[in-house]
Amino acid sequence: MIKVEHISKSFGGIRAVDDCSLEVVRGSVTGLIGPNGAGKSTLFNIIAGLFPPSAGRVLLDGEDVTGWPAHRLFHRGLARTFQIAQEFSRMTVIENLLAVPPKQSGESLFRAWFAWRKVIEEERGLRVRAREVLEQLRLTHLEREYAGNLSGGQKKLLELGRTMMIQPKVVLLDELGAGVNRTLLGELAGEIERLNRDHGYTFFVIEHDMDLIARLCDPVIVMAEGRVLTQGTMAEIRRNEAVIEAYLGTRRQKTAAQARR
């Protein structure tokens, strides 16, 4: 579904992603883990077209989409959430969802002025879907709240909700669980499983909650210092010396740095 070939990305002197190659197989829920600063979010941003890589290729469904702008990738069925929630803060919760579906005729000013009836009709349909999504996310009571007033966890839910407004082929979730209450997170994991099983959506998931990763993801890819360290089932990953070293290694560096201060 997604194939990343020898991707590198530098910010100034920092090599955030360093000659990274991996594949997300169609129909899988693939996990991406690794210590903070490993380059996971940067890789997501490159795949989703937020910025182009310094080197390498990205293939979506076999097509070379390197350097495509984000909005074009969305129309090819790629949806995503952000690690730091990017809600439309001065729009209501339901408007955040209504904005998502593509090809709304009311997005043409001409039709907004001269074919208002059609716009209203479409809007009714969108609203039904948006309310279903809000129901699933337990956000119904906040329908008319400004999205900027939501808690951190609720904003992440809203981001997930946006991806549920369409039928994407592949969804990138960047630390969905951060700030979301455990019970609800469990339910959402169930929803992800269902969408994957019944609708064949592919998921690519960055997550720090190892239990969630173990439940959802196969395979799991481990990144460290901009590179892919290893890949396998969660059980294999847990036994892998290099992974333990990568996680502990950063921890050791941190303790050492703190000790030096």
Binding site: G49, P69, A70, Q86, E87, A99, P102, E123
Partner: protein, 320 residues
């Protein structure tokens, strides 16, 4: 002062007409800033293009400037708007792709270029001498009906633009723009072509501003380089929109009327100052308006009529 005197009536009509012209400018700026978060620091450029295009296209032949096209007003105004829209499109194509404050800098620069062109290219604009003999619609009518009819025309245009802007605000087009304004990366991630939407809002706003310029040229029947003054056009319009409430079309109209009335009142005030102060009045007035802006923002952080999300299309408000 006899409130029934002809002089006072004329004064009121003038206040109303100018408020209306500024309301058009403010509605245009609201399309750019309130809807799309685009910072236009060169409103005067688009206003001046509209004014000069309308004047040049409608005035009789003159040795002082380009002219003699003799177009009727209804034909000249759309041309004026298209010219301004074309300039906005060119600027937008270059600046809207890049994030950040490029647009602000570019619009400041363009406004300065336009100001210098108008001042120096005398074959085109008659430079500092200005263009006179601009016809005003309805001027053949007896007084005060001529002025009243022009006021009516301005009011009708304000109403029409208000309607169009409200519809745009309530539509998915406006929703996409607000999304882009709040987070352009997230808007792109849900498939919105950020550059294209921004370009539409910027061009549309610039066309509306040009219409205000055209109206003002015909209203004063004379057009000089003052039309390009950043103070009287750009700064004052920004104050109007911020005071009235950006992101609110009614706020734009209210802010325009209110600030114009206050601005005119400060003229009465400063005219009574002793002689040696007269030369200082221009900046004293600006200072007063700046002070007023501060006071309003202290009390009404989002303007007198703050932005509101549109009523959901065809959705009954929850009864309760």
């Amino acid at each position: 002062m006899d409130i029934f005197s002809a002089g006072f009536l004329n004064y009121l009509i003038a206040l109303g007409t100018m408020s209306g012209i500024y309301a058009v400018l403010c509605l245009g700026l609201n399309l750019q800033w309130g809807f799309a978060g685009l910072f236009n620091a060169g409103i005067a450029a688009f206003f001046a293009i509209g004014a000069y295009a309308a004047a040049i296209l409608t005035t009789p032949e003159s040795p002082n400037h380009l002219g003699g096209f003799g177009l009727p007003v209804v034909a000249a105004w759309p041309v004026a708007m298209l010219l301004s829209g074309a300039l906005a499109w060119a600027i937008g194509r270059i600046c809207l792709k890049v994030q950040g404050d490029y647009l602000a800098m570019a619009t400041i620069g363009i406004a300065e270029v336009i100001r210098l062109v108008i001042k120096n290219e005398e074959w085109l604009t008659a430079g500092t001498r200005g263009i006179s003999n601009i016809a005003r619609p309805f001027e053949a009518l007896p007084t005060p009906w001529n002025a009243l009819a022009f006021l009516g025309l301005v009011a009708a245009l304000v109403a029409g633009i208000y309607w169009a802007a409200e519809r745009a605000w309530a539509s998915p087009w406006g929703r996409a723009l607000r999304a882009i304004r709040d987070s352009d990366v997230a808007a792109a991630a849900i498939g919105k072509d950020v550059t294209q939407f921004r370009l539409e809002a910027f061009v549309l706003g610039a066309m509306v501003m040009a219409l205000a310029g055209a109206l003002s040229a015909h209203y004063f029947k004379f057009l000089g380089t003052t039309a390009t003054e950043p103070m009287m056009v750009t700064f004052l319009v920004w104050v109007m929109l911020i005071v009235g409430g950006s992101g609110n079309n009614r706020g734009a109209i209210l802010g325009a009327a209110l600030i114009w009335v206050i601005w005119s009142a400060t003229e009465l005030l400063t005219n009574r100052l002793p002689g040696e102060w007269i030369t200082r009045t221009s900046y004293i007035r600006v200072l007063l308006i700046g002070l007023l802006l501060q006071i309003v923002l202290q009390r009404f952080g989002k303007g007198l009529l703050p932005e509101r999300p549109p009523r959901m299309i065809d959705d009954r408000p929850k009864s309760g």
